[in-house]
């Protein structure tokens, strides 16, 4: 037997003197470093340095800039003028707008999301699996695309909806105008509904059916059980989702930019943007002070949210849970089916259809057979700005998503799976960008890059955007990866170590091998995030480093809605392709584990 034959350890008797000799396999240099803790400390310091540069540095530059009287990089003095300028009546209205709009979109979105989640998770509505994919699709479409599509659909003069209304009723009035409070809320709700849906649907699904069965056995009706047991049990998840949705509503940039700014409705994010980009002399100090102030508000909200959530923010991959009670709806199941389809039609098909239609007609708003043309496609394909921004976006997407996920994977590893000193600080630093809206982070980096000493000419290059994207994506990347690590027992790693694999070999052959599906899902998510990012990009781009969202916005501002439609359509296909890849990966993971 091979196993007994291998006792080649020598005498090993009691008389042999203890020796501290070399192990049977030579311990490498790295192992020695590791056993002394030096390699680990260098690693921790490096990680802290990277995170400090990505989060702490722009944050402190934001504060510096809010006190500095001149634009970044110019000599000036320090005063409190920026903060004094914030305290005006106009800004009070802006603050009320910001909060009011966020509430106005969160409440109906939540009601709708609960209803849709209930349909998909707890009823026998046909094709629930497909419906779920369709309902959540709007969340993955860059908001800038739907904003432009709705700008065309809901235009007071030439919008398709109003024209259809006039054609149907023969009246001359236009009931729909998206350039209004209602329009902003409507556009935001299209995103927050699928977002909230994703957030709560699993808690609907994971509920122990016996809790509800017990209520039925006590004599409660089905409806009463739903109200008194199911919804009450879900209250923590719902409250957490509400809080998150409110914060995101206040951070929103695209909706108020497209539908509010043209008609003079301002929120804080657009006011910051406006002060830097649309005034004769950019009011940097004012904008920076405003950004810093809103960040302080966000900090309070994030702390409240964190306390409500206890740090549990994302449910990405679900394990095997209970099989929940399915309510038999009878004939009504076709009504719920139709309702879900209607949601999909309004939030996806309508705007995408508008983009498709818009791309083939000579002028937006004039739809006749003689107006059909492919000119816009030709124009876009010959447009060097388009090609450059497409290359930039793809490059930034690939590099940014990879770098963000690698960084997030390492941070999550250190915070979840080690007991190293400094890991809590790392976790906190990685969370910091979470409370900075994109526009605030953009302002922070604007200062940060301008103030960087000589040999680092990052300002105005594509690297500026890359760093901002990494900072913005890191919190999500960390959450995705730590959720995945949490599912893997420590034994799997320790077993590998005992059986001869080094720390690095274990990391590579066990941990990464097991966590890569989550890595890939997170990668796609981060790529989406970069593709749709507008608020930080608009501040940090310069000639040569435009990205697609910026080019789209410029074309839109120039009134070239037709070319916008062409590019928007192309981006849509990209989004659907990546979403398909992502769903494949999630499915593969669930079936293997």
């Amino acid at each position: 037997m091979a196993i007994v034959a291998g006792s080649d350890t020598g005498i090993g008797g009691q008389l042999a003197p203890p020796h501290y000799g070399t192990p049977r396999r030579k311990a490498g240099f790295l192992t020695h470093l590791n056993s002394l803790g030096i390699g680990r400390n260098i690693g921790i310091l490096l990680l802290l340095a990277i995170l400090a540069f990505l989060a702490l540095y722009p944050l402190s530059m934001l504060f510096y800039g809010s006190l500095h009287s001149t634009p970044p990089g110019m000599a000036g003095e320090f005063n409190l003028d920026g903060y004094r300028q914030i305290l005006t009546n106009e800004n009070f209205v802006i603050l009320l707008n910001t909060i009011g709009i966020s509430f106005a979109k969160t409440i109906p979105s939540m009601a709708l999301a609960i209803f849709l989640a209930w349909i998909c998770a707890r009823t026998d509505t046909p094709f629930r699996g497909t419906l779920e994919v369709l309902i959540t699709l709007p969340f993955f479409i860059p908001p800038i695309l739907t904003a432009m599509a709705w700008g065309m659909l809901g235009n007071k003069q030439v919008g398709v909806i109003n024209m259809a209304w006039q054609w149907l009723t023969g009246l001359k009035d236009s009931p729909i105008n998206v350039y209004s409070y209602g329009g902003i809320v409507w556009h935001m709700a299209q995103y927050s509904t699928p977002f909230l849906f994703l957030f709560i649907v699993d808690s609907f699904r994971a509920m122990d059916p016996s809790l509800e069965e017990a209520s039925r056995m006590c004599g409660a009706s089905r409806w009463r059980t739903l109200r008194r047991i199911t919804l009450v049990l879900m209250m923590p998840a719902i409250v957490a989702a509400l809080m998150l949705s409110l914060i995101r509503g206040m951070e929103n940039f695209e909706s108020p930019l497209f539908f509010g700014l043209p008609v003079g409705i301002s929120v804080i994010t657009t006011e910051i943007y406006n002060a830097i980009n649309h005034r004769a002399t950019p009011a940097y100090q004012y904008a920076t002070a405003l950004a810093f102030a809103i960040m302080a508000v966000m900090f309070v909200l994030v702390v409240i949210q964190w306390m409500l959530l206890h740090g549990r923010t994302f449910t990405t991959v679900t394990g095997k849970g209970y099989s929940p009670n399915i309510m038999k709806l009878g004939r009504w199941r076709w009504a719920t089916f139709a309702f879900c389809i209607l949601f999909f039609l309004v939030t996806v098909v309508l705007p995408v259809g508008q983009l498709a239609v818009g791309s083939f007609f000579k002028f937006f708003g004039f739809y006749g057979w003689d107006m059909l043309t492919l000119d816009h496609y030709r124009a876009v394909l010959q447009n060097t700005d388009f090609w450059r921004s497409l290359t930039n976006t793809m490059l930034l997407g690939l590099m940014g998503a990879t770098a963000t996920m690698v960084l997030g994977g390492i941070i999550a590893y250190v915070t979840v799976r080690t007991r190293w000193r400094g890991r809590r600080l790392i976790d906190a630093l990685a969370w910091l960008p979470w409370m900075m809206p994109g526009i605030v982070l953009g302002v922070g980096f604007l200062w940060a890059f301008a103030m960087l000493p000589g040999p680092f000419p990052i300002y105005g290059t594509i690297w500026a955007l890359l760093l901002a994207y990494i900072a913005l994506g890191t919190p999500i990347a960390v959450r995705v990866m730590s959720a995945s690590y949490h599912q893997l027992s420590f034994d799997l790693e320790e077993c590998s170590r005992v059986h001869g694999a080094s720390w690095w070999q274990t990391l590579w052959r066990i941990l990464i091998a097991l966590a890569w599906p989550a890595f890939a899902v997170g990668w796609v998510l981060t790529f989406f995030g970069i593709m749709r990012e507008l608020s930080a990009s608009i501040l940090l781009y310069s000639v040569g480093s435009e990205v697609l969202s910026v080019t789209l916005l410029k074309l839109w501002a120039n009134g070239q809605a037709e070319q916008v439609s062409v590019i928007g359509l192309m981006m849509m296909f990209l989004v659907i392709f990546f979403r398909w890849v992502q769903l494949k990966l999630i499915k593969a993971r669930i079936s293997t584990l």
Binding site: A2, S7, P17, H19, Y20, R24, A27, T31, D491, Q505
Partner: protein, 367 residues
């Protein structure tokens, strides 16, 4: 195969002392079990031998090689200790097949392909899993996963095999079967094994020697029979089953040779002979241990036996192979394991006695 030497080893977590100055030697080819309630430090001790925890004081050697010496700041990481380990959860990597799982230690060591193939298959044959080599690991039952975990721990001919409660996730019937199979394999191959469990029956059935631990200390080390019949303390005695521990005083004591003594003890209304490990002075207080299954009941009891009681049955629980009876004899409760066919019922008067050699006297612990 090598021996394991644990010298004066401690492990503290902050203020908590998990393992407190433990000394232990596992000889080559020996099967030693660390036994104790959860939190007694047995798993921490095993993990320190594995190198998964670092001892805060003391020295650990495997074979003639020191692997950890806290005073000298010397520590060999787990991957350089050449040990096999079976985890409580089995830790079968879900992204690999059975073959890949078992081949992992050999691949890490860069062995030639042909050798890997041959060794993995022969080891899988050893645990009767050769038919499952190409199965994905998650598609195995608990018992099969356990066999794969053992195969993986043995395939590279480790110095020592460490096992952390490997049977605790199996159902009762399978647990006994796997335990017996593993013990047979261990004896056949002569594998030095260090085994952790909280299950006393498992410990006694498998081990050459048992180490009873509590609160980070070793209470006693010895062969299963010695631990069970001749415990050194009340705590060790109480760890197995529900023994009768009666307070008594020594009236006489004589040596029987080989460090064994015969003492005459007297309790409240009874007296008799007991064995002991030390010479007690007359008048010294002792605790007399009576195992419930060593007490004879009714007709078997025999009149005139040196140590006997009579009392009323206050509880009788039928357990299938036997009946557990509690007897009240003038306020003294006695647990007795009686034959299943015992005719007596609750309330009956009954006579019980202890045959010579059935009683064991130990020093009462200072409280």
């Amino acid at each position: 195969m090598s021996s394991v030497l644990v010298e004066d080893v401690s492990r503290t977590f902050g203020d908590v002392i998990a393992v407190n100055h433990v000394n232990l030697r596992v000889e080559r080819g020996e099967f030693v079990t660390l036994l104790g309630p959860s939190g007694c430090g047995k798993t921490t001790t095993l993990r320190m031998v594995a190198g998964l925890e670092q001892n805060t004081s003391g020295r650990i050697s495997i074979g003639d090689r020191v692997v950890s010496d806290a005073e000298k700041g010397f520590f060999v990481p787990p991957d350089h200790r050449h040990l096999g380990m079976v985890f409580q959860s089995y830790a079968i990597w879900p992204h690999m097949t059975v073959f890949d799982n078992v081949a992992y230690p050999l691949r890490i060591r860069r062995r030639p392909k042909a050798e890997i193939e041959q060794r993995v298959m022969s080891t899988l044959r050893l645990v009767e899993m050769e038919k499952y080599a190409q199965r994905p690991a998650p598609a195995l039952s608990g018992g099969q996963q356990q066999r794969v975990a053992i195969a993986r721990a043995l395939v590279f001919e480790p110095e020592v095999l460490l096992l952390d409660e490997p049977l605790s996730n199996l159902d009762a019937r399978l647990r006994t079967q796997m335990g017996d199979e593993f013990r047979a394999l261990q004896k056949r191959l002569g594998i030095t094994s260090l085994y952790v469990t909280h299950d006393q029956e498992e410990a006694m059935a498998l081990s050459d020697r048992v180490v009873v631990m509590q609160g980070g200390h070793i209470l006693q080390i010895g062969p299963p029979e010695e631990i069970y019949q001749r415990p050194v303390s009340r705590a060790v005695a109480a760890f197995f089953g529900s023994p009768n521990l009666l307070d008594a005083r020594v009236t006489a004591s004589e040596a029987r040779g080989e460090g064994s003594f015969e003492v005459t003890v007297a309790g409240n209304g009874w007296q008799g002979q007991a064995r002991a490990a030390e010479k007690f002075e007359p008048g010294a207080p002792v605790v007399v241990l009576l195992r419930p299954e060593n007490i004879r009941v009714g007709d078997q009891a025999g009149n005139g036996a040196p140590m006997s009681w009579s009392g009323k049955i206050v509880q009788a629980i039928f357990r299938g192979p036997r009946t557990s009876v509690t007897i009240d004899s003038a306020g003294q409760k006695l647990n007795v394991e009686a034959p299943a066919l015992l005719g007596a019922r609750v309330g009956d008067e009954i006579q019980v006695s202890v045959p010579p050699g059935g009683a064991w006297a130990i020093r009462p612990e200072a409280v």
